[in-house]
Symmetry: C2
Subunit: 365 residues, 2 copies
C-alpha cells in the first residue's frame, strides 16, 4: 500500500471504528421522545399552566430538545378533575399533572398525595413526602394503580371560600348550601352543611341567584379570577380542608419503566424543581391578589374557634371511620398522623413563634 493510501485507509478505519462505538452511544444518549401531559386546570389558571411550561422547558433544554413534553389544559384532550389521573392510569396519555385527591371518590387513600382536612401545611407535606417516608407509602399505592408520581407543585394553604352572609356560629352552618367537594364535603356534612357539587362555570350564577349560600375554590389569586367577591363578599380563612394542595407529575408506569435512566433523572429533577417554583409563584401572586380583593370589597373573616374545633373533630372522626374499612387508607394514615404529631412541638416553637411575631409586628406598620 502506498504511504498516502495507507494513511487514508488508517484514517478511515479509525473513523469507522469510532463511528461503530459512537452511533449506539448517540442513540442511547438522547432518543427522541414525545409525551402528552394534560393538566387538571384550564388555561386561565396561569400559575399552574405557566409552571407546567417551565417543567417541559427544563426537560427539553436538558436533552438538547430531544425529549418534548406537550402540555394540554383541562378539556383540550382530557377533561379536568379525576379524568387526568384516570387517563394516565389507563395509558391513554403518557403523563399528566394533577391533584391525586380528585380521585378520592374511587378510594380515599388518594388524598394523602395531596391534602387532608386539618393535615399538613405546605412545608410538612413536602417533608413527609420527600424525606419522611410518606412518598414511599404513596408511591406503593400509586404503583398499584399503574402510575408513578413525582411532586410538581403545591398551591399552598387555601382560603375558606366565599359566603353570602357572615357565619358566626356553628348554628349558622346548619342547612347552608355550599359548593365544596371531596372529603371536605363529607366533613362539613357532619356539621349540617349541605355540600353541593357544581362545575366551576356554574358557581357564580348559583351564588348570585342564591341557589347556593357559599363556595370554596382556591387561594386568592385563583379566587380573584372567578369574581365571587361581587356576589358573596364574606371571604373566610382558613381553608382548613386544604391546608396544602400538592400536585404531581403522574407517569404511566409502563411508560416510565421504558425511559432511559438519565431521562428519568432529568424528569425527576425538573419536576421537583418546579414543585418549588409553583409555590414561589403562588406566594408572589396570592398576597397581591388578596390586597386587590380587599380593595374591591372582600370582607375578610376568620372561622371561629367553635367552628374550627368542631370541624377538626369531625375530620379525625371521619378518618377513623374510613381507616376501619379501608386497610390501604389505614396504613398510610397511621404513618401520616405520627409524623404530624412528632412535628408539632418544633414547628410551634421555632417557625410558628417567629411568624406570629413578625406578621403581628408588621401589621402594625
Amino acid at each position: 500500500m502506498p504511504k498516502t493510501t495507507r494513511r487514508k485507509f488508517l484514517a478511515a478505519t479509525a473513523a469507522a471504528s469510532g463511528a461503530a462505538l459512537a452511533s449506539p452511544a448517540i442513540a442511547q444518549a438522547n432518543p427522541e421522545i414525545k409525551w402528552r401531559m394534560p393538566l387538571f386546570v384550564p388555561r386561565p389558571f396561569d400559575v399552574l399552566w405557566n409552571e407546567a411550561g417551565e417543567f417541559t422547558k427544563r426537560v427539553a433544554e436538558a436533552t438538547d430538545g430531544k425529549f418534548q413534553i406537550q402540555r394540554f389544559a383541562a378539556g383540550e384532550i382530557v377533561p379536568g378533575g379525576p379524568a387526568v389521573l384516570d387517563a394516565v392510569e389507563a395509558g391513554t396519555v403518557e403523563c399528566g399533572n394533577t391533584l391525586s385527591y380528585y380521585s378520592v371518590g374511587k378510594d380515599p387513600t388518594y388524598a394523602f398525595g395531596s391534602t387532608l382536612p386539618f393535615g399538613m401545611n405546605t412545608r410538612l407535606q413536602q417533608a413527609w413526602y420527600l424525606r419522611g417516608g410518606g412518598g414511599e407509602l404513596c408511591e406503593e399505592f400509586f404503583n398499584s394503580k399503574n402510575v408513578t408520581a413525582i411532586v410538581m407543585g403545591n398551591s399552598t394553604t387555601q382560603m375558606g371560600g366565599w359566603f353570602r352572609k357572615e357565619i358566626k356560629s356553628l348554628g349558622d352552618l346548619k342547612g347552608l348550601k355550599m359548593r365544596i367537594p371531596g372529603l371536605a364535603g363529607r366533613v362539613v356534612a357532619k356539621l349540617g352543611v349541605i355540600p353541593q357539587q357544581i362545575a366551576p362555570g356554574e358557581i357564580y350564577p348559583a351564588l348570585e341567584r342564591g341557589t347556593i349560600d357559599a363556595a370554596e375554590w382556591a387561594a386568592s389569586h385563583d379566587d380573584e379570577r372567578l369574581g365571587f367577591v361581587k356576589v358573596a363578599p364574606y371571604y373566610y380563612s382558613p381553608g382548613w380542608w386544604e391546608p396544602n394542595a400538592m400536585t404531581h407529575l403522574f407517569v404511566n408506569l409502563g411508560v416510565w419503566n421504558a425511559l432511559p435512566a438519565h431521562y428519568k433523572a432529568i424528569v425527576r429533577s425538573a419536576a421537583e424543581a418546579v414543585n418549588q417554583t409553583v409555590i414561589a409563584n403562588y406566594d408572589v401572586v396570592n398576597p397581591l391578589a388578596m390586597r386587590r380583593l380587599v380593595a374591591s370589597g372582600a370582607q375578610l373573616r376568620f372561622f371561629s374557634a367553635e367552628i374550627m374545633n368542631a370541624a377538626y373533630d369531625a375530620s379525625f372522626a371521619l378518618y377513623d371511620e374510613i381507616a376501619k374499612e379501608n386497610p390501604r387508607f389505614a396504613k398510610i394514615y397511621a404513618h401520616w398522623k405520627k409524623f404530624l404529631d412528632e412535628s408539632e412541638l418544633y414547628m410551634r416553637v421555632a417557625d410558628n413563634y417567629y411568624e406570629n411575631f413578625i406578621w403581628s409586628r408588621r401589621s402594625k406598620g
Copy 2:
C-alpha cells in the same frame, strides 16, 4: 475500482462522514467534566453533606456519568465560612455550596442571598428569590463578584441559641457575652450584648468555663450535635436573626459560561430540586432532635415581646444606616422590604391563622 473494494471504500466513507458528523455531536452532547465543590460545613453536619451528595448524584445520573462533581467538607480543600465563596470568586475551585451571608464582612449586600434579622421566613425567601425579582437583583450583585448562584438549600428558621441563665428582660442582655457572628452580632451589640467570634470547636469549652454566657448555632438537629444542652440548658426561640438560611450552589462565572446549555439546565434543576430536599430533610430531623433535647434537659424558652421588639427596631435601624452608605445594599433592600410589606396581610390571614390553630390544637393532644 473493483466492486468489493468500491463497496469497502463507500462503507468507510459513509462511516467516516458519519463519524465526522457524530464526533462533534458526541463531544457536544456529553463532554466529560469534573468539578470540585467545597462545602461550608464539616461532615458531621449530615443533612447538608448528604444533600450535597444528592445534588452530585442527580447531575451524574442525568449525564450518564459524564459530569462528575466532587464534594469536599469544610477544611478538606478550602476552610469553611467565607473561604468557600472566596475560592469560587477567585476561580480556585469551579463551584461551592455555601451561605452568602458569611461574606457580609466584605459587603453587607451578601446577606440578601441568605437571610437578614427579622426578614423573610423560608417560604418567603424562596418566593422573593425565585419568582419575586429578588433572585435577579442578587444575581446582578453576585455576577459583579464573578460568580453565578443557584438556590441549593435552606436550613429554615434557626433557634435562638443556648444560654447559661434565663434572659427575662432587656436588662439581662447588657454585658452578656454571646457567640453570634455577622449582622446579628451588630444588632445585638445595639442591645448591650458583647458579641464574640469563636470557632465552632471552641464554643463548648467557653460555655462550660463561663468565658461566654451564650451561643447560637443553628436549628435543633445541628444544635444537638454540639452538646450545649449540658452546659447552657436554656434553649431560646426564635433565632430572629436567621428566620431562614438559604444556601446556594455558587459557580465561577467563567466556568459557568463555558458549560454547554443542556449541562446548565441539568445543574440548575438538580440544585433547585435539592434546595427543597434540604428543607424537607431538616423538617424531618429537627422536630425529632428537639424532642430528644427536651428529654435530655433542654429548657425551652421564648424571647419576650420586649426583647423581640427592641431587636426588631435595632435591626431595621441598622439596615437604614447601611443603606445610607452602600448603594448596592440600598437597591436590594428597598425591593426586599416592599416584598415583605406586601406579603404580610396574606401570610398572616391564610397560612399563619391555620398554623396557629393546628399547632395549638395538636399541642393539647
